[in-house]
């Protein structure tokens, strides 16, 4: 990871084609690496949701732009926390014409809300030359707890 992670080098670096079918594989690897790093089960699940949501946005943006560029995922093991950084070369992020759920609800907003609630230090920025960088950390707690036990958001039905 770069500056956002305080210069801590990646423990594991993944790169995958922008295909939604690969998100399960990414979650699997994140789960294994985080478990070996000593994260608790709840923290592991939070990380899997956060990385999957982040990568799903990148996959969608790259697909809409017609770009085959790989998405890079850094997994960073630090003494007191576990970090993830996702980088993609998609143009400026934008919602699809109907949203990922076929216009039923803005699940991009739901996804961002989930990420923000589940992890610490969520940062997003643009990459030099185009693209997006999203990074976040999760502290190691007794049970790998995330930062917020529950945040009520406006109902998508209202």
């Amino acid at each position: 990871m770069d500056a956002d992670a305080g210069g801590v080098p990646a423990t594991v670096r993944l790169a995958f084609a922008p295909e939604a079918r690969l998100l399960g594989t990414i979650r699997l690897v994140v789960g294994v690496v985080a478990r070996k790093a000593g994260m608790g089960e709840e923290g592991i699940e939070d990380l899997k949701v956060a990385v999957s949501e982040t990568c799903a946005v990148a996959v969608g943006d790259l697909n809409r732009a017609g770009l085959p560029d790989q998405i890079e995922v850094d997994l960073v093991e630090a003494p007191d926390r576990f970090g993830i950084e996702v980088r993609d070369r998609a143009p400026a992020a934008s919602a699809g014409p109907e949203g990922a759920a076929g216009g039923e609800v803005d699940d991009r907003e739901l996804g961002l809300a989930l990420i923000g609630a589940l992890v610490d230090d969520l940062k997003t920025s643009t990459l030099e030359g185009g693209g997006n960088r999203t990074s976040f950390w999760l502290r190691r707690g007794p049970q790998g707890l995330g930062p917020i036990p529950g945040v009520d958001l406006p109902s998508p039905l209202t």
Partner: protein, 114 residues
């Protein structure tokens, strides 16, 4: 991991058992199943999430879409879930106030329609 769907009738209710991971890749399969149920006249649906290993925002969106569809027919969509990791997703997004969530299919079926 793929998504497995199984539907059976219990009285006036259609019970949709979901097993596997619901994400942006698999959610369209769930959406199509819910659309098909409503198109076939099933307006009281119980979605059993007990065998779901992963749920993301796309899956939430599909369930909200299903709820909107059955409500258009004065129907109901109820969930069955006792897994904390899945319930947490509903709590964070405020959807525990939108979906009736039960601990068993029997409880969901016997619950009064809101």
């Amino acid at each position: 991991m793929d998504l497995d769907l199984n539907v059976h009738k219990e009285g006036d209710h259609s019970v949709l058992e979901v097993a596997g991971e619901i994400d942006v890749y698999t959610a369209p399969k769930l959406r199509e199943q819910l659309i098909e149920l409503v198109s076939d006249g099933s307006y009281h649906i119980v979605v059993d999430l007990e065998k779901v290993d992963f749920l993301d925002s796309t899956g939430l969106g599909v369930l909200v879409g299903g709820l909107k569809r059955v409500r258009n027919h004065d129907g109901s969509l109820q969930l069955v879930c006792t897994q904390e990791k899945i319930l947490k997703i509903f709590r964070i997004t405020g959807l525990t106030k939108v979906f009736p969530i039960h601990s068993s299919v029997a409880d969901a079926i016997s619950a009064p329609v809101e």
